[in-house]
Amino acid sequence: MPAAPSRYARRPDVRYRRVGDEAVVIRQEAAEVVVLNEVAARILELADAGRTRDEMLEGLLAEFDVPRDRLAADLDAFLAELESGGLIAPLGAP
């Protein structure tokens, strides 16, 4: 399995807003609205802030009471989902 890219950027046509624990995400080009749950919203925020995958993992471990292995797997899976969904794009290795 190829290694996950280290850093991501929000795609330029994507806007989002935190609404309570969730995030409302607008994909402008696709005219699509997506709602993310609390953890997913936090991952998008961290990715948008330019955090590396490992920095995101450490940040999430500090915020959510989830075992490291499980959170790491969930993070990688969700980053791949955000990428395939057109919300973020990899910036490549630093």
């Binding site: 046509d13 806007r15 807003r17 609404v19 309570g20 624990d21 969730e22 995030a23 409302v24 995400v25 607008i26 402008q28 005219a31 609205v33 997506v34 709602v35 993310l36 919203a41």
Partner: protein, 303 residues
């Protein structure tokens, strides 16, 4: 595809100094208005008066004006006949919003106070469609600027308050309207409704003169306090359930035509929708197409 390429022969703006079609004008009173439509040729005016006859008014200074201007036919792409459905092109800028559609091009200010509509149609049935297509967009921006929203929804008045049933096409808006009308309730529209602040911290719903099975019928207009919004879903039985605030804002956002495609006004739109979600319940309503959901709605009011 570049802006307007499907509708315009050339991507240039229409002549800003183009003359009006005529000296006719009318005023229409509803949410965000009165709206004055000016520059009308005689047949344009007659058709517009017929189309908006239930909401015509006089004597009140207009809050917004839409001016009709001449445009040469060669400005527009050669389209043999009006299709049943088509999309519009919208290009948003900081000071103006540009719109292109079948046989028209328009400019409006983002506050929805002023619009200019260029068309080659001197009248006829297609003219009314062109006018309405641009007018709806002007109204959407006007309501947004006023802290409200134009919502793709069925609006129903029950016990003096309005409930809005919203969702994408085929979600059940017309069915919800028919079930509600069958119970003797007043349907404002099964297509588009205006939500506007009432000036006292609440929100009101007002009937609009736009299309929909009920939108052009003789039901009375007026403003009604908004009691709640319901995201429609098909279901084997009637169930009212909660939406999280994020899901509620997202679902509403998807049903706010025109302005939700404007990246420069999405923050304002999200502000308005968040306020709406804080002021009234926004819930999910699953219902079968042949059942009356109102008793369950009343029960859910007590939860």
């Amino acid at each position: 595809m570049s802006f307007g390429a499907a509708f315009l022969a050339t991507p240039r703006l229409p002549d800003p100094a183009a003359p009006p079609w005529g000296g006719g004008a009318l005023e229409i009173a509803f949410a965000g208005g009165p709206y004055r439509i000016s520059g009308l040729a005689p047949d344009q005016e007659a058709r517009a008066r017929q189309r908006f006859r239930q909401m015509l008014t006089t004597g009140t200074p207009p809050a917004a004006e839409l001016r009709l201007l001449r445009a040469p036919p060669e400005h527009f792409a050669d389209i043999p006949r009006m299709p049943w459905t088509y999309t519009l092109d919208l290009r948003a800028g900081p000071d103006q919003v540009e719109v292109a559609g079948l046989l028209f091009q328009g400019l409006l200010d983002p506050g929805g106070r002023e619009g200019r509509l260029w068309t080659p149609l001197a009248g006829g049935g297609d003219f009314v469609g062109v006018l309405e297509n641009f007018f709806r967009i002007l109204v959407a921006y006007r309501l947004l600027a006023l802290g409200g929203v134009l919502l793709h929804s069925a609006g129903v008045v029950d016990r003096g308050r309005a409930r809005l049933f919203f969702g994408p096409s085929n979600a059940g808006k017309t069915t919800a309207a028919r079930i509600s009308a069958g119970g003797g309730r007043q349907v404002l529209s099964d297509d588009l409704n205006a939500v506007v602040p009432d000036g006292a911290g609440g929100l009101e719903v007002e009937k609009l003169p736009f299309a929909g099975e009920y939108g052009q019928t003789g039901t009375p207009s007026g403003r009604y306090p908004l009691a709640g919004c319901y995201r429609l879903e098909k279901g084997a039985r009637t169930v009212v359930s909660d939406l999280g605030t994020g899901a509620a804002v997202g679902a509403l956002l998807a049903c706010t035509p025109y302005v939700n495609a404007d990246p420069l006004r999405q923050e304002r739109l999200l502000d308005n929708l968040q306020r709406l979600c804080h002021r009234v319940p926004v819930r999910r309503l699953a219902f079968p197409r042949d059942g009356d959901f109102w008793p369950i709605l009343y029960e859910s009011d007590q939860e």
